[in-house]
Structures are given as structure tokens and as C-alpha cells.
């Protein structure tokens, strides 16, 4: 029940107006999901630090959460280089050299009322209730410069409208992997149990999180994103169109029945993908674009040049 969008500027520079581009694209397809909006943004890479972003809510509970998070960071030898609170988020830039997965799981449990939204060297996820412009007003998305990013608008039908049920989803336990997904994975529980048996933790019952973890797991075993996407079309059952991003790559996969829409536009400089052409056209108003619709059961990836 949603709309998705993604963009990558191919030259690899991190000074592109990625925030503005994604706000425009999501505003263009806001009719597909007026309840909540989210962005996965890839900016300049911190080579020796990690960015953590938590959803902490408001009021004194939020203050308590921040204290608990700080002490959990200390317990795990993560040294805070910089931190700030913005809206209902707490951000921390830390120096950390241990095992990322166990660290990430520990952070998930750092405070009972806080949730990790993203962890990465270049990834930042911003998501909240409301439309693209509402979320931008709260989190300054339009000032975000970067090389690539994903976006999502959500129509909440099966659960209520809360910031934590907004997308994109971070691949819990893996640095810098994010996903936006339109559709429904019907073998969700089967796939999730397989991953849980191997020690993975899930923070939600949302099928998008499953796709993110599934792909990140493959990549952590050395499988290239392309191959992971190919395997996902075989392994995942249901109707889906999803976009995935890592520090350096962006990719898509589409189910065998092509039940969910997806359109893309590519030039020498950029690749933009969205649920509907109306989003792509927001980047080039007044121009008819030579767009392409990916066939059923297809996948592809793009890397930024470094």
C-alpha cells in the first residue's frame, strides 16, 4: 500500500541535491500513501565512524531513552564523537570497532522506548508520519546532499499511523543497507523463521524488513547485490516491486507477475526509479521522458563511480 522512489547520481559525488530530488518524487506520488513518508539518504562516508539514528519519541521518556542509549554506547566501547536531538530522533556519531551485528542488536535493546532507525557509515534514515513536505519541515531533508537515496510513502491500512511503522527499513544488524518496498511477501513467516534459526533478529513484523535482512545476509556472505536480487525473485513469494541501496549501489527487483508498478529513467548522469512516472516527471517538469518499465521477474543494479 504505498509508493516508492529511488535516485542515484552516477558520478559518486556527495554534493547532489538528493534530499530535494526525493522530496519532489515522493510529493508526486503522495496519493499512493498519504499517512507517512520516509527517506534513506546516503551522504558523505564516515570512514572511521558510524552514524546511529534512534526514534525516541517526545517528553521525559525521550530524555530517559537518550541517557540509556548513551550508557549502552559506553558499555559497548562506542565513543560518541558527536550527537544531537532533532524532532523525535536522536543521532549519534560514534567510533566503534567491534562486531557490528551484536552491537546493532544491543542498541535495539538499549532503551525500552527507543528504536534504531538506521546504522551506517553513510546511511541516514528519516521517517515520520505525514507527507514528504511535513517530514522535510521536521527534519530538514531538503538540505541533505548526497550521492543517492530511497524514499517511500505509506498508506497505513493494517496498523495505525506511527513513525516506527513508516518506511524505509534498515536491514537490522547490517550497516548501510536500506529498502523500500511496494507489495506483499506471502511466504514471509517461512522466510523469517529460516533467518531467525540462523540467529537474525527482527524488529517488526513488516515484510520489507525481511527483504532487507534477506539481501544483507546474502551480501555479508560475499554475494554481490545483483546475485542477491536474482535469488530474491526465486525465494520470495508474493507481489513486490522493491528498491534496495547500499553505500555504493542501488538496485531493484520485481516479482514474476509484475503486479506492482515501477518505471525508470536513466541518463548518463543519473538513474531514477519510481512507482509512477509522475514522480520521475517531477525531476524534469514540462519534459516528456524516455522512460522504461522493467519486465516481470527482472532485477538490475547501478553503482556510483568512485
Amino acid at each position: 500500500m504505498c509508493g516508492i522512489a529511488g535516485i542515484m547520481f552516477k558520478n559518486g559525488r556527495t554534493d547532489h541535491e538528493t534530499g530535494v530530488a526525493l522530496i519532489d518524487m515522493l510529493d508526486g506520488c503522495q496519493h499512493r500513501g498519504p499517512d507517512s513518508t520516509g527517506f534513506a539518504l546516503y551522504g558523505e562516508e564516515h570512514t572511521s565512524e558510524l552514524k546511529l539514528r534512534f526514534l525516541i519519541g517526545d517528553g521525559t521518556a525521550a530524555d530517559d531513552s537518550v541517557e540509556l542509549i548513551k550508557s549502552a554506547l559506553e558499555d559497548h566501547d562506542a565513543e560518541i564523537v558527536d550527537d544531537m536531538r532533532i524532532g523525535n530522533n536522536y543521532q549519534a556519531l560514534v567510533r566503534f570497532n567491534g562486531d557490528l551485528r551484536s552491537f546493532a542488536y544491543a542498541m535495539e535493546h538499549a532503551a525500552p522506548d527507543a528504536k534504531v532507525i538506521s546504522i551506517g557509515q553513510s546511511l541516514d534514515i528519516v521517517k515520520d508520519v505525514g507527507g514528504a513536505h511535513d517530514v522535510d519541515d521536521r527534519f530538514d531533508v531538503h538540505n541533505f546532499k548526497g550521492s543517492h537515496g530511497l524514499g517511500h510513502v505509506r498508506l497505513a491500512t493494517e496498523s495505525d499511523v506511527r513513525p516506527e511503522s513508516a518506511h524505509p527499513f534498515w536491514a537490522t544488524g547490517f550497516s548501510d543497507v536500506a529498502i523500500v518496498h511496494n507489495g506483499q511477501i506471502t511466504n514471509y513467516w517461512k522466510m523469517r523463521r529460516r533467518l531467525e534459526q540462523r540467529g537474525f533478529e527482527f524488529r517488526t513484523d513488516n515484510d520489507s524488513e525481511l527483504v532487507a535482512v534477506y539481501l544483507a545476509d546474502k551480501m555479508s556472505q560475499g554475494v554481490p547485490l545483483r546475485e542477491a536480487l536474482k535469488a530474491s525473485i526465486e525465494d520470495l513469494d508474493g507481489t513486490f516491486s522493491f528498491l534496495v541501496s547500499t553505500k555504493d549501489e542501488i538496485g531493484y527487483a520485481k516479482d514474476n507477475l509484475a503486479a506492482k508498478p515501477m518505471v525508470m529513467y536513466e541518463t548518463d548522469d543519473l538513474i531514477a526509479i519510481a512507482s509512477e512516472e509522475v514522480s520521475l516527471n517531477r525531476l524534469f517538469p514540462g519534459h516528456a521522458l524516455n522512460t522504461k518499465e522493467p519486465p516481470p521477474g527482472s532485477y538490475d543494479t547501478w553503482s556510483k563511480s568512485t
Binding site: A258, E276, G286, P296
Partner: protein
């Protein structure tokens, strides 16, 4: 010629202008379309609309007679349901181009997406590039021409029509085969290409229906008719119903199809009683004058609501399942009673429109009989997702009932065992549904309420989607609902009971803080005004009667509705049988039944201490069985079972 700049004005306003200019005979140029949805929907004048750029979903949808030229690409559902007229697309078309067209000519210069021409009835869909998979899916007629490659599974489950492929036929769909290319047809085809100035010198391969799935191999013979009491017998294990079932299956080797309602004992409204003593009902003089019953349904988004003299409607039943005379009689009765009638699947006849003062027009996945002209003359539009008797299934109409006239109105081949698609081509999730609802509103200028009919299954989720997608009201149908034809096992075992359905609906809305924010019309085996009042107390805003109306109008409950030889002339399309039905008499019988319902609702409301049906509430009810108590969370009062002689009291 006039110009409309979509960078300056919203699509809704643009469409109003397009229709206005259309009526004045002015051609229209659209600039800065930037792939916006619903451009030109609802236009019914022979003017030319030029879109300078790309258009979004449903461009030229629900139109007749107009000509569209789109310079670049189009989104899903190009030319949706278009009658006559033409569309030329300079670029690519997305999924389901030409869906449900009924005569239009559509030319796509580039490639087209998946399921092109789904459920099309007539006309030509030409793609100069390659098609994606399942072109011609479920098509009922007309012609698809693909100059490039066919895509996988071309012609999947097509019932009729022709698909010509100039490139490679990648793979054939289910029930499709390669046909002979007759030279006369090829000449026609080349003339079409010439008319649109398209050069193609290659040869064509032709794909047609293979004919393996259009009919059941063995038809079900009508058996000796059993009284319903015997049919639903509980007296012994191998009762007459079980025996009949086995006999029939031993003949046909498949599941049975039959009409009427389920016969399985299920928790129902009869298991609910009133919390107060209402034995003095018959002493109330003229209760109708003492109780406010007028109910407005469907105005929450500013459309003209249905104005009901009591919280009652007629349940959707098709002209097709029922004879024209029956639909006419029901229409007259609905007008006399001041309530609303519903077309069900399969289109709107003039007789029905003339008879019913308030008529809801229903759209199903096969888009049978759906068209812009009848939409415009309806009082409400309804998307059918499923029905209580057979949730998850489309309509079934056996060959005997698919007469020439009926086939024409629906746009399908005559004499097939029609199994309507269970899914809509353009509704694969809540997000698509939102865009579809918008298309219907755009096409009719936001005048009409748009409702959704839900068969009771996953009501808790479905009602949330219905609410979020902006419907004006929901028709909620429990598994005790009847049908003109359905798989017997499905009727008895699939779905959830009517009282569970209303509870799940209310719970679902409460979970998202939307209590009372969307009106619910409850149906599914409601028999009288007593059931109606209980439904209103549980939380429904109104109720609908289907089977009860038919019985009031002469049905003898033989359960052979599907056969098409109904002796009363109700469930038949055979003129010899229909002759027996006297609509002018039956209309009054149905009307008297509805007046009986009115009296019961008024008397009970009054006896419960209210002057307005809107005051009825859960505190007026108790559960008489443990099952009903569990489902409804009403207080369990078994000692009241004996006191609830309502059928005698009213």
C-alpha cells in the same frame, strides 16, 4: 482549439474544463501533463484531446467518442473501458493498456506493459513495439495487434477475440492456441495499419481461444426438487441433502454449482435477542408515524447521498442471474418503498433504470456491462470485491442464461458458462484501489457516492482499506448471503457469518480510531425487520435484503437458480419462462414485504423506547447462545430464549 496547462490547474478542474469544451465541440491541447493521472476521463464528446508530454494512469478512461493523442508515454489502464473513439500514444504504455475497451481503437507506437487488453470486449488494440506478458488476458472479444514480440503467455484464458503477432510468439497462455490466418482478416488488419499510417510488411501469426475452458465438460442435470426444509435436514446423518450431493457428483465428477443460500447451521441474528421485554409490540398503534427512519447514505465526501425512507436497501443482484422482469419489479418496489436498488454485476437495463428511483451501479472485475453512460445515470457507483455467498470468487452464469441479449449488454460471447474474473485488472492493492476510486469520481464529477461491496472474510483488514481508500460506504455481506450460482462447498464453508462480519468491521475501525467514520450496510441472510433492527443495534447504519426480496416476489426456493429454467420466471433468461412472471403484480408483493419490514423496524424501535432508529444500540441486545455471545461479546442470557417469540409478536 483551447489550451489547458496542468502546471497551472489541478486535474479535477482540468477534467471539468475538458468536458465543458467537449460539449462545445472544441478540441483541447494539454500542456505540462507530467504524467498526471486521470487526464480526460469521463469525456463523451467527439473532440480531439492532444496531450503534449506523458500522461499517467487511466488516460482517456471511461470515455466514448473522443480522440486522444498523447505525445509520449502513458501509465496503467490506458483507455480503460473506452467505448468508441481512439487513442494514439507516441511512446510506451504501461500495464493493462486497453483494459475492458468496448469498441475503441488504441494505437501505441512503442511497447506496452503486461496484461494489455485484459477483459476487452470489442475494438482494436495495436502495439507497434513489443508486448509484455499475458497480452489478451481474459479477453472476451475484439482484436489485439502486436507488431513486435508477443510476450510470455499471450492470450491467457481468452474467451474470444483475436491476437495477431508480427514478431515472435514467446509462449501461449492457458486455453490459447495458434489459429489460421484468413487473408480477408489480414487485409482488414493492413487497412487498419494504413489508416494510422503505420508501415509493416512482415507476416502475422494469429492466436485464438482453444475452447477447453469455456464450458464445463458435463452439465449438471436438474434433480428432483427437494423442499428446503428437507434439504437442510438435520434429522439424520445421511440426510437427503447429502444423498443428493453424492448423486450429482457421481454424474458430473466435479464440484456442484447451485443457487440460493447456504444451508449450514451457523450463528446468526436469530441467536441474538432483545434485552427488554417487547411483548406489547402489537398494541402500538401506527408505530411508523412515531419513529424517525429516514437515512442518508454516502454523503461523507460531498456526493449526493442516497436518501432512504428507512435504513434498508435492496442487495446487489444482477440482471442475468435474474430476469429483466424481476429486476424491473424489484426496481418498482424499491421506488414505492423509497429505498435504493442495486444493479449487481452485468450492466443496467433501461427497464431497471426507469423502475428504480435510486439505483446503485456495480462494477466487477470482468467489467461486464460497465460503461460511462450508465455510470452517469446512476445514483451511486459500487466496486464489487466479493460477496458473502462466495468470497474470493467472481460471478457465475451458466450457458443457458447467457442469451444473445445478455451477451450483448455484457460484451461477451453468447452461450458460454461465464465464470467472471474474481480479481479486478487494476486493483491489486489498496494503493491501486485509491487511484481507481478517484477515476470513478473524476469521470462523474464527484457527484455520486462510491461504495465497496465486501464478502465477509478478512473483514478486519478490508474495512480499514475501504476507509483509508475514501469510500463513502461499505456493503458488508456475511456468509449467509445467497447467490444465483455458486460452488456448493464454497457457499457452505467459505467466509464468516454475518454477525461476525459486523463485529470484525467495527473492531477493525476502532483499531485505527475510525469508529463510525464510514457507513456500513449489513447484509447476508437477513429475513425481516427484526433482523434489521438487531443489525442496527449491533452497529450497522442500514441493512440490505436480497433473497427475502426474491421470495416476496414469488421465489419457491427450489435452489435451481443456476440452471436458467426457473419455473417462476425469476432466475431465467428464457422468454417462455419469463412470461410467467408478472412484474406489475410482484412489484406490489415485494413492496408489501418492505412495508412489513418498515412496520417491524418502527414497532421494535418504539418498543425499545426510542423515537429514532439511530438511537438503537448494543445495550438493547443480549446473546441467546454461547456462540453468539462469544462472537458479539453481548451478555449471555440463555433464560431469555423462551421469551423471544418475536416472530409471533410481530
Amino acid at each position: 482549439m483551447v489550451q489547458i496547462d496542468l502546471a497551472e490547474i489541478p486535474v479535477r478542474q482540468a477534467n471539468e474544463l475538458i468536458r465543458k469544451y467537449g460539449a462545445d465541440g472544441e478540441d483541447i491541447d494539454i500542456i505540462n501533463p507530467d504524467a498526471r493521472h486521470h487526464v480526460g476521463v469521463g469525456l463523451t464528446d467527439p473532440v480531439t484531446v492532444r496531450v503534449h508530454g506523458s500522461a499517467g494512469y487511466f488516460c482517456a478512461g471511461l470515455t466514448d467518442a473522443a480522440h486522444f493523442e498523447i505525445e509520449s508515454n502513458v501509465g496503467w489502464g490506458l483507455g480503460d473501458n473506452m467505448y468508441t473513439g481512439s487513442v494514439i500514444v507516441g511512446g510506451n504504455a504501461s500495464a493493462i493498456a486497453g483494459v475492458a475497451i468496448r469498441g475503441a481503437e488504441i494505437v501505441i507506437k512503442g511497447n506496452m506493459g503486461s496484461r494489455a487488453g485484459q477483459v476487452m470486449k470489442a475494438g482494436t488494440l495495436l502495439c507497434c513495439g513489443n508486448a509484455n506478458f499475458m497480452a489478451g488476458y481474459l479477453m472476451y472479444g475484439g482484436r489485439i495487434i502486436i507488431l513486435g514480440d508477443s510476450g510470455e503467455r499471450v492470450g491467457e484464458d481468452m474467451a474470444a477475440g483475436e491476437i495477431y503477432v508480427g514478431g515472435k510468439v514467446q509462449s501461449l497462455g492457458s486455453d490459447a492456441k495458434m489459429g489460421d490466418t484468413e487473408s480477408s482478416k489480414i487485409d482488414e488488419l493492413r487497412a487498419f495499419l494504413d489508416r494510422y499510417k503505420i508501415t509493416f510488411n512482415g507476416d502475422f501469426q494469429k492466436i485464438v481461444n482453444e475452447g477447453k475452458k469455456l464450458h464445463y465438460k458435463t452439465s449438471e442435470r436438474p434433480m428432483r426438487s427437494l423442499p428446503f426444509v428437507g434439504f437442510s435436514g438435520k434429522s439424520d446423518y445421511w440426510n437427503p441433502k447429502i444423498q443428493e450431493d453424492i448423486h450429482i457428483k457421481s454424474q458430473i465428477g466435479r464440484y456442484r454449482v447451485r443457487g440460493y443460500g447456504g444451508a449450514r447451521e451457523l450463528p446468526h441474528l436469530a441467536d441474538i435477542g432483545f434485552a427488554r421485554n417487547i411483548s406489547g409490540l402489537n398494541e402500538i398503534s401506527n408505530p411508523v408515524s412515531k419513529v424517525e427512519m429516514r437515512t442518508l447514505i454516502g454523503g461523507k465526501h460531498g456526493a449526493q447521498p442516497l436518501d432512504l425512507s428507512m435504513p434498508v436497501m435492496i442487495a446487489p443482484m444482477s440482471y442475468g442471474a435474474l430476469s429483466r422482469s424481476t429486476k424491473q419489479a424489484i426496481g418498482i418496489a424499491s421506488s414505492l418503498a423509497g429505498i435504493a436498488e442495486n444493479t449487481g454485476e452485468g450492466g443496467m437495463s433501461d427497464a431497471q433504470r426507469g423502475a428504480a428511483e435510486q439505483l446503485v451501479f456495480q462494477m466487477l472485475g470482468g467489467r461486464l456491462g460497465w460503461n460511462i453512460h450508465d455510470m452517469k445515470r446512476a445514483n451511486g457507483l459500487e466496486i464489487y470485491i466479493s460477496q458473502g455467498a462466495k468470497p474470493g470468487f467472481g460471478g457465475q452464469l451458466m450457458a443457458k442464461k447467457v442469451t444473445k441479449e445478455l451477451a450483448e449488454i455484457r460484451g461477451i460471447p453468447q452461450g458460454i458458462d461465464l465464470r467472471s474474473p474474481s480479481r479486478h485488472p487494476d486493483i491489486l492493492g489498496g494503493d491501486d484501489l485509491l487511484i481507481k476510486v478517484e477515476e470513478m469520481r473524476e469521470a462523474t464529477g464527484y457527484r455520486l457516492p462510491v461504495s465497496v461491496k465486501l464478502g465477509a472474510g478478512r473483514v478486519r483488514d478490508d474495512i480499514k482499506i475501504a476507509y483509508k481508500d475514501g469510500f463513502d460506504f461499505v456493503e458488508l455481506d456475511g456468509m449467509q448471503g445467497s447467490t444465483g450460482a455458486g460452488g456448493a462447498e464454497v457457499m457452505e464453508y467459505v467466509g464468516i457469518p454475518t454477525i461476525s462480519a459486523i463485529m470484525d468491521a467495527l473492531d477493525g475501525l476502532a483499531e485505527i480510531d475510525a469508529d463510525g467514520k464510514i457507513q456500513i450496510i449489513l447484509m447476508g441472510g437477513l429475513r425481516d425487520g427484526v433482523d434489521a433492527v438487531k443489525s442496527l443495534c449491533l452497529g450497522a447504519d442500514a441493512v440490505a435484503f436480497g433473497n427475502a426480496t426474491i421470495i416476496a416476489g414469488g421465489c419457491i426456493s427450489c435452489m435451481q437458480c443456476h440452471v436458467g429454467q426457473c419455473v417462476t420466471g425469476i432466475a431465467t433468461q428464457d422468454p417462455e419462462h419469463e412470461k410467467r412472471y408478472r412484474p406489475e403484480i410482484e412489484a406490489h408483493n415485494i413492496h408489501r414485504f418492505l412495508e412489513g419490514v418498515r412496520w417491524q423496524i418502527a414497532a421494535l424501535t418504539h418498543a425499545l423506547g426510542y423515537g429514532d432508529v439511530k438511537s438503537l444500540n448494543r445495550d438493547d441486545l443480549v446473546a441467546l447462545t454461547p456462540e453468539a455471545a462469544e462472537i458479539t461479546r453481548l451478555p449471555y442470557r440463555p433464560e431469555l430464549r423462551e421469551q423471544q417469540h418475536l416472530s409471533k409478536a410481530v
